[in-house]
Amino acid sequence: MGDGVAERGAIDAIDVSGAIAALRRILPERGLLVSDEELRPYECDGLTAYRQLPLLVALPETEAQVVAVLKLCQEIGLPVVARGAGTGLSGGATPVRQGLVLSLAKFMRILEVDPVARTARVEPGVRNLAISEAAARFGLYYAPDPSSQIACTIGGNIAENSGGVHCLKYGLTVHNVLRLRVALIDGEVIEIGGGALDSPGFDLLALLIGSEGMLGVVLEATVKLTPKPQLAQVVMASFGDVVSAGNAVARIIAAGIIPAGLEMMDRAATAAVEAFVHAGYDLSAAAILLAESDGTPEEVAEEIAAMRAVLEASGATDIRVSADETERLRFWAGRKAAFPAVGRITPDYLCMDGTIPRKRVAEMLTRIEELSGEFGLRCANVFHAGDGNLHPLIMFDANVPGETERATGFGARILELSVEMGGTITGEHGVGIEKVRQMCVQFSARELSLFHAVKAAFDPEALLNPGKAVPTPRRCSEYRLTGTPGAH
């Protein structure tokens, strides 16, 4: 597909007043935002470095209204950007200038929790944590737990295939969603998946999850609930250097242990966190590891002992085991608050999301430190070490001329290194608008054109979230000409 089709929505002139009148007929009172003042809160998502006022924001309240809005958009060629809580970190919900933001914030109902079938049927605007809260009285929870789980919605989680700190053992969103009800751009509503563990036909569930709002709009989801383990405990280990910490991660896996969570933070990250939430981290350590075990009390005791032995053999300078649930939650609170904690010590930061083979974590940390010197910007490192998923937080000040560009360049280098090391530019945050250029590093022109063809099978006029996730061939040739050295 050529650029003309992909960017058509932005090029075509739209009869704005006609669109407003038609949308007002569909939407409830106050369901359409038009003025700059009303649109301002929607100008960005969690990726605040990119801001763009949309043309309009629609806040439908019923499925019929969503369907009618989509039909209208297709009819008049108006681009649509679906939005949940707007916590995404890759700009997946960044508006399109000549487009509509379709907010699903009003779809907040938990329709059903079935404790026997261990499922919850929810609307897309339900918060991730609200599902676990609703299931708690049955001893069940929804396993994927992104750091933003207090605020982020299941619709957004599905769009991004979100992870969290317990993915290695409990999987990503794609492993925990059984069924989706989805509206296509032409207003057709489809049901994919179901109450059974598989369904006939190609696995559209796998395709839709993580498709960044480019194939359809989620109207409803049935998610799998997991029994809450009887007990969970965390081991916190300190290391004098990042290389030993990185090697300890590989040795835990080699010992046949799949920890419920396995996280790593370097000193820049623990220092920022400690000042913010007082999690009790060892600030003398160059890096700390948090390793969680869950299960029956006997099982946890067995696994904690095994992990302790590996950590000691790997050169840990200090090891602490959470004494009770309060302490366990405090250890995690620090990790989950890492992004806002870094946000307090710098005017701006960029959060990267590359994933690499575990064995190269130490090497990557060393390279990041070198790049930090090269670009003259500080970087704090927070990793889902068990998954090899890195979240380097590049600190900068957008008000200092040139710093934003330097930060972006630094981030691009990390992503390119991730691909060079046999990994990927994004493990769980999505490509969005932020990493669309680096897609040209990870994928060939043929692979990208296949992605465009998949998109066209669902959305031939490229109206759903245009310009995100998959770059046009032209953007890639520009990137290859002007990209940073070593971009291949």
Binding site: D114, P115, V116, F138, C167, G171, V174, H175, L184, G194, G195, A196, L197, D198, P200, G201, F202, D203, L204, A206, L207, I209, G210, S211, L215, P229, I253, G256, I258, G295, T296, E298, E299, E302, T355, I356, P357, R358, K359, G386, G388, N389, G422, G423, T424, T426, E428, G430, V431, M439, Q442, F443, S444, E447, L450, F451, V454, K455, A457, F458
Partner: protein
């Protein structure tokens, strides 16, 4: 393009130019599965070997024609396994066939399906282009998840050249238990246990006998055994292997074998014929001479679908799998065109119309 990929490309290009169907085939162990076989054989067994395996990465990458036995032996050597326990259904079963059919064994209910363990694929589309999707890391959300889309696609979207799978450590211990319960009671027990943090890794109900496998840390298995009760079965491993391979007595029958995939909480089905239940009640095997319409209607009413798994050749012409509702059929057709514009790969094997 390396090794045999160039050879395959020639065959694919020739078939596409002539619009001649190709039948992707490994050892043929799963020839019985799905719609009718059509076309010139593209033999994947030429393309074999483990490309990469580092136990600390929990990832194995192998070529499509690699025998499952070779992969399982390599993993066992490092104390790891394919946690979805793919059925072989024949001595030479290959990795490509396991992923293309997307079939999973007894551990599926606890560990996940073949699709859940796919991390990446190298594939050839209908234009003979070699494409890579996903990768060799645990988490990867760059681009649409084409690699998981390939699992269970029956080779209809392309030729899998290499597959990367997540692997897991072998459980420290496994124990098999046997309890007596009629089907209704067994379903109740299974759904109750599934809502509690118990290390049940497989279940099988047949003829009022409920077999359970517990897997995990020694302490966890011992504690669960005390809670669940039942008597311990001596050669559990052989039992689950025979079940996975459908070598148990139940499967030796002339009647068509139906695979019903249902919500685990679906009530006992009122259909003629013998039933065997796996996966905590969400997989129900039925040997029955009842009409396909009746069986499919019962599965649909129960919230699932039915597949004519083995036998019933005269009914197979109408499709082995349940018909898709028209909007889904249209999307499936569009995807088929995206990957295989000339419609050469395994036509009719999955969806009758293409």
């Amino acid at each position: 393009m390396d090794d045999f990929a160039a050879y395959f490309a020639e065959q694919v290009r020739g078939a596409a130019a002539a619009k001649r169907p190709l039948r992707i085939r490994g050892s043929g162990s799963k020839d019985f599965y799905g719609g009718p076989l059509e076309g010139e054989v593209l033999d994947t067994r030429r393309h074999t070997g483990i490309v990469g395996y580092d136990p600390t990465e929990l990832v194995i990458t192998a070529r499509c024609g690699t025998p499952l036995t070779e992969i399982e032996a390599a993993l066992a050597g490092a104390g790891q396994m394919l946690a979805f326990e793919p059925p072989h259904f024949g001595d030479g079963a290959t990795l490509g066939g396991a992923i293309a059919t997307g079939l999973s064994g007894p551990r599926r209910v606890a560990a996940g399906s073949a699709r859940d363990f796919v991390l990446g694929v190298k594939m050839m589309n209908g234009r003979a282009e070699v494409l890579n999707f996903g990768g060799q890391v645990m988490k990867n959300v760059a681009g649409y998840d084409v690699s998981r889309l390939m699992a269970g696609a029956m080779g209809c979207l392309g030729l899998l050249l290499e597959v990367s799978l997540k692997v897991l450590p072998l459980p420290a211990t496994e124990t098999t238990l046997r309890l007596e319960a009629p089907q209704g009671r067994a379903l109740e027990l299974l759904n109750g246990w599934a809502g509690r943090p118990l290390p049940i890794s497989a279940s099988c109900w047949e003829d009022d006998a409920l077999m359970l496998r517990l897997s995990g840390a020694n302490a966890a298995v011992a504690a669960a055994r005390r809670q669940i009760g039942g008597e311990r079965v001596a050669d559990g491993a052989a039992f689950w292997r025979a079940l996975r391979e459908q070598q148990a007595a139940f499967f030796a029958d002339e009647l068509p074998l139906w695979r019903l995939s249902l919500p685990s909480v679906a009530a006992q089905l009122d259909l003629p014929g013998a039933q065997l239940l796996e996966w905590g009640g969400s997989l129900r095997w039925l040997k029955s001479g009842a009409t396909p319409e009746r069986i499919r209607a019962a599965a649909t009413r129960a919230g699932g679908h039915a597949t004519l798994f083995r036998g019933g050749e005269e009914d197979r012409a109408d499709g082995a799998f349940q018909t898709l509702p028209s909007p889904l059929l249209a999307l499936n057709r569009q995807l088929k065109r995206v990957f295989d514009p000339a419609g050469i790969f395994n036509p009719g094997r999955m969806i009758r119309e293409f």
